[in-house]
């Protein structure tokens, strides 16, 4: 079956600009760097976030190194009060949100908080917090002696819900369990909320934590893939607004998200071919964005050294954009951060624009591929700003 024939272009004849999103600030939390400017510097210098993680947990880890933050404590950034019982995903997500707000010229006020929300992507919330909670019920003869205050950490929307409380954001609050597609799925969810007029501004991003659980789960599945990127953790969060409104206010965004397209095809090795599906997604996204393949300067891919997934991504990109397009492999700097990956790939592209006016208006693409047949692509156009802009 020809994948291109499956989905007609739904935007034909419409003004694509009304659907675009502006990013007016962003924040990242990674082992490489914390904060947009710091991340920009670290990427520019080509540093790696790989760290020694031995002794980070009581449990043994499958590998001594990971793209993780052994010394990270949310208390160092946000204080003790209110943070003691946060799971790691919540801490990373909330810190990403606060950093994104620090980086934008938009402020939260009583006038806008009802229409200012949060959309965060995840794999399955804090898997460690959930599994720890489950473990408590398996030990001792009174299985119900669990900690009430930790119960909210077992729901996947904990990071988004706690962030809303911390920041006082009463608009739509959503959690998208997208796995490897989470970054793109969160952007798509946000785009829908804004174009339908349900929200004016959203903190949009995705989160993944490093734990013995995530490390072993990954190791048990992929240990045979020798060249694979080691696992990591982090978050990237973007302040997203209606691009037209931002332009009307005379503000220059960091980027415009021109299109986000996703699709579902066969798992690796099954029909319909996900490589052709990704090519179709990229092509559809470019058409929605009103951009020619030849205008694409770079693609930030989710490639991570797992051959069956990388193969899908490479074939999809080559079919849509040609073999010569520059592939930015963000995971070499930040690790395999699963649900945070798509957002970190986008952050890596934005880092390329910060402080570089010569790249203003350049178009780039983010791609993601999941082991369950999901594929996706976002098209964006970036602008520079001086470092430190908007910082108070």
């Amino acid at each position: 079956m020809n994948a291109t024939a499956i989905n007609p272009d739904p935007t034909s004849g419409q003004d694509v600009r009304e659907h675009t999103l502006a990013i007016t600030g962003w924040g990242v939390v990674t082992s490489l760097a914390i904060g947009a400017d710091e991340f920009t510097t670290a990427i520019g210098e080509g540093r790696s976030g790989l760290r020694d993680v031995t002794g980070m947990f009581d449990e043994d880890l499958p590998e001594d190194q990971a793209f993780a933050m052994p010394d990270f404590s949310v208390r160092d950034h946000l204080g003790r009060k209110g943070t003691s019982f946060f799971d790691r995903s919540t801490s990373l997500g909330l810190l990403g949100c606060t950093l994104a707000l620090d980086d934008t010229d938009l402020t939260v006020t009583d006038d806008n908080r009802d229409r200012f929300g949060i959309v965060l992507g995840t794999t399955a919330g804090s898997i460690k917090a959930t599994s720890d909670y489950s473990r408590e019920t398996l030990e001792g003869d009174r299985p119900f002696l669990v900690n009430p205050v930790l119960f909210p950490n077992t729901v996947m929307n904990c990071a988004a819900g706690q962030s809303a409380i911390w920041l006082g954001l009463k608009g739509v609050n959503a959690t998208v369990a997208g796995g490897r597609l989470a970054g793109l799925s969160a952007l798509r969810y946000a785009r829908n909320q804004i174009r339908r007029g349900y929200a004016d501004a959203l903190l949009v991003g995705s989160v993944e934590e490093f734990s013995p659980h995530t490390a072993w789960f990954s190791h048990r599945q992929h240990a045979a893939e020798e060249g694979r990127v080691k696992v990591g953790e982090g978050s990237a969060v973007f302040v997203v607004e209606n691009a037209e409104a931002v332009r009307a206010q005379g503000r220059t965004p960091d980027a415009e998200i021109l299109a986000v397209e996703v699709g579902t095809y066969g798992a690796p090795g099954r029909e319909p071919d996900a490589g052709a599906g990704l090519a179709d997604c990229v092509g559809r996204a470019l058409r929605r964005a009103g951009v020619e393949p030849s205008q694409v300067r770079a693609v930030a891919t989710g490639e991570s050294g797992i051959a069956r997934l990388d193969d899908i991504e490479r074939r999809g990109i080559e079919a849509a954009l040609g073999a010569g397009v520059w592939r930015v492999r963000a995971k070499e700097w930040v690790g395999e951060c699963q649900s945070a990956s798509g957002s970190l790939q986008l952050a890596a592209l934005l880092a390329g624009h910060r402080g570089h006016p010569e790249l203003d208006g350049a178009v780039s693409v983010v791609t993601s591929v999941s082991p369950d047949g999901g594929v996706g692509a976002a098209v964006l156009r970036g602008w520079h700003r001086a470092r430190g802009d908007h910082r108070s």
């Binding site: 209110g82 002696l145 900690n147 205050v149």
Partner: protein, 85 residues
């Protein structure tokens, strides 16, 4: 004040302080958890749960409204645990 009472109060103070995210010395015997330390129902149940686990006792949730400060917590626990403080 008996030594046992003092010891129990210190242990309870430790639990309450950790749940309410303050230093133990900030928890006075009669200071209201809600008004002075922003306690809510979830934290109140957490305090109760930790006490039950530590002393291996059962405290009915109907006692929660009473457990509004350290002294009241001690009184409730003393009754349930049979302390002669």
């Amino acid at each position: 004040m008996s030594e046992a009472r003092e010891k129990h109060l210190d242990e309870l103070r430790e639990i309450v302080a950790e749940v309410l995210e303050v230093e133990p010395e900030e928890i006075t015997e009669t200071g209201s958890f809600v008004e002075e330390h922003e306690a809510d129902s979830l934290r109140a149940i957490e305090i109760l749960a930790r006490i039950e686990k530590k002393y291996k006792i059962d405290i009915p949730q109907s006692e929660l409204p009473r457990m509004e400060n350290l002294k009241a917590v001690h009184d409730v626990v003393a009754t349930q645990a049979g302390w002669q403080d």
